[in-house]
Amino acid sequence: MDRIPILKVGDCLLVTIQVDMHDELAMSLQEDLTMQIAKHASRGVLIDISSLEIVDSFIGRMLANIAAMSRVLDAQTVVTGMQPAVAITLVELGMSLPGIRTALNVERGMELLREFIGRDAEAEDVDGAEE
């Protein structure tokens, strides 16, 4: 079965969804990502959906799940590049994905992840200094 490739970039994972996914493919991506986060102890996950022509409630739920699961595994998730028509449709469908961080493109998404990870690191440093 096809699988969507997951790229490891430093302490982040990068996924670009380019195909019209059927539901099993989406489910396997969700599983693969969770495994990879745990395996590499990744701190950030970036999912680029700029080539996706639709996001229905199933894919929406998959994105929400990935964000929630990675949060449990101490990683931040950013979804990037959602097309305007897709965003309008998703809102109309009734999904506003409140738990998901978004960015306009991969570059900004990476910046955002760096910010989060950096902020966490600072917080740890402060903790360390106090001890």
Binding site: G81, A87, I88, L90, V91, S96, A103, L104, N105
Partner: protein, 288 residues
């Protein structure tokens, strides 16, 4: 074959003269069209009409194609000249009187034949007149559609305030259709200009109803899904009251009274600030 066709052909010149007289009484607009032009147009149509009737009595048939095309042209040029729809239909309808006149002279003694011929020719001319009006209305509708489109374009000026900051100053009444178009163009502009912040300013909007408010909220949510932030500015007191009375929830929406305030937080969001250069080290350095 009924005979009015032959009669019309034989008396073409007489009919044309009668028609011109009729036109001058009924719809003459010397301010819009001169006599020579009018006569030329009339004679051309009468000729096409006469020719077509020799072959067919069905206005939608191929025989009438040239006449129909001609009337379309007449409708177009007259519309542009400023004739009204009824004046345009009178161009064809005023041909009835002179045609009926020659028929009356021809069938003096035969009342039933006269009625038949008048009915046939009258019906034909009525249909042609209706077609002309239809053509005129269609042209006007095209104009209206085009103007609506142009108005839509004019009413959606997405402007760039700064690198990464867009503004959409909305002016005039917002209906649900216009709001949708405006919002779509804002979201596209966000992608095109790679802007992180967009400010929707509704200073120029007199009222907001539930549907429009919902569209605004949906747009702000959609922008967030795309990775951009949307602020709402220029909310008048009356609109603020309406929003509360309608029970619309703007809790998740960043609102500011003035566009300038929204711009200020947009800059802060991007890590930038506007500072006075008076007494500023950099400015002083330049003076020296």
């Amino acid at each position: 074959m009924s005979v009015f066709q032959q009669i019309v052909r034989t008396h073409e010149t007489a009919i044309l003269n009668g028609w011109m007289k009729e036109i001058s009484i009924a719809t003459r607009r010397s301010d819009l069209m001169n006599d020579a032009e009018m006569r030329q147009q009339s004679s051309e149509f009468l000729h096409l009409f006469t020719e077509a009737t020799q072959v067919s009595s069905e206005v939608r048939s191929d025989a009438f194609a040239a006449a129909r095309e001609f009337l379309k042209g007449v409708a177009k040029s007259r519309m542009e000249q400023g004739f009204t729809a009824s004046e345009i239909s009178m161009f064809v309808l005023s041909l009835k009187q002179p045609v009926f006149n020659v028929l009356r002279d021809e069938f003096k003694g035969d009342a039933s034949k006269l009625v038949t011929e008048i009915w046939t020719s009258g019906d034909l001319l009525d249909k042609l007149a209706m077609m002309t009006v239809d053509a005129a209305i269609e042209l006007r509708e095209q104009t209206i559609a085009r103007q609506q489109e142009e108005m839509m374009e004019l009413s959606t000026p997405v402007v760039k305030l700064w690198d990464g900051v867009l503004a959409l100053p909305l002016i005039g009444t917002l209906d649900s259709g216009r709001t949708q178009v405006v919002m779509e163009s804002l979201l596209s502009a966000i992608v095109e200009t790679n802007s992180q912040v967009a400010i929707i300013d509704i200073t120029g909007v007199p009222t907001v109803d539930t549907l429009v408010a919902q569209h605004l909220i949906k747009t702000i949510t959609a922008a967030r899904l795309m990775g951009a932030e949307c602020y709402l500015s220029g909310i008048r007191p009356a609109i603020a009251q309406t929003i509360v009375h309608l029970g619309i929830d703007l809790v998740d929406v960043q609102t500011k009274a003035k566009l300038s305030d929204a711009f200020k937080i947009a800059l802060t969001r991007l890590g930038k600030a506007v500072v006075s250069i008076k007494n500023h080290p950099a400015a002083r350095a330049e003076e020296q």
